[in-house]
Amino acid sequence: MKLHTTEIGETTVMALAGDVDLSHSPTLRKALMELMFQRRAVVVDLSAVTYVDSSGIAGLVEAYQMARKNGTSFTLAAISDPVGRVLRLARLDRVFTIADTVEAAVKG
């Protein structure tokens, strides 16, 4: 998994690439939690994610819940087919705020 963050105004865009599985999900969780503690608006760019397992999804759910508690925005953007499939299986596609593109997510 590769993780890269960019600041666009008040929003942090976190771009993930590769496999988000048990060996990498603790890194993702830590990075997301740091942003949540800073109360940043976060957009997660999932366009280059090739595989996500339940531990990766758990990190996203935890960040989503923390953002809701903080009243900050947390958006998943440009979801790749493998991620979309897992989100639908877990019925989380109706829970997360999802944008078609990173640009649309940053604009809000």
């Binding site: 595989y51 397992d53 339940s54 531990s55 758990a58 877990a90 019925r91």
Partner: protein, 95 residues
């Protein structure tokens, strides 16, 4: 994905993050793909790894649901040696 999630369950719940062996057995029986995963840990309480209701939005408990979603059957069988756990997952595949 189902095998990945099943292995994670064994590592987390059966071996509790410690070291241990697991055996993966793949078999094709006509149009059925049969996957068996055996470990040698103390027997797990099956009720504890049942999928959670999906209307509860919380981080954990998704792995078992994903396994059951992508496979046709997921069952715990009696382990042949009487120790450990034996998980069987079956998927109908196009011949």
């Amino acid at each position: 994905m189902a095998v990945d999630e099943a292995c994670q369950n064994i590592i987390r719940h059966a071996y509790r993050g410690g070291e241990g062996h697991l055996i993966l057995h793949l078999d094709r029986q006509d149009d059925l793909l049969v996957i068996r995963l055996m470990d040698f840990a103390p027997p797990v309480e099956v009720a504890k790894i049942n999928p959670r209701p999906l209307d509860e939005v919380r981080p954990g408990g998704l792995g078992t649901h994903l396994m059951r979603s992508v496979m046709d059957r997921v069952d715990f069988l009696p382990p042949p040696a009487g120790i450990g756990n034996l998980l069987q997952m079956v998927k109908r595949i196009t011949p």
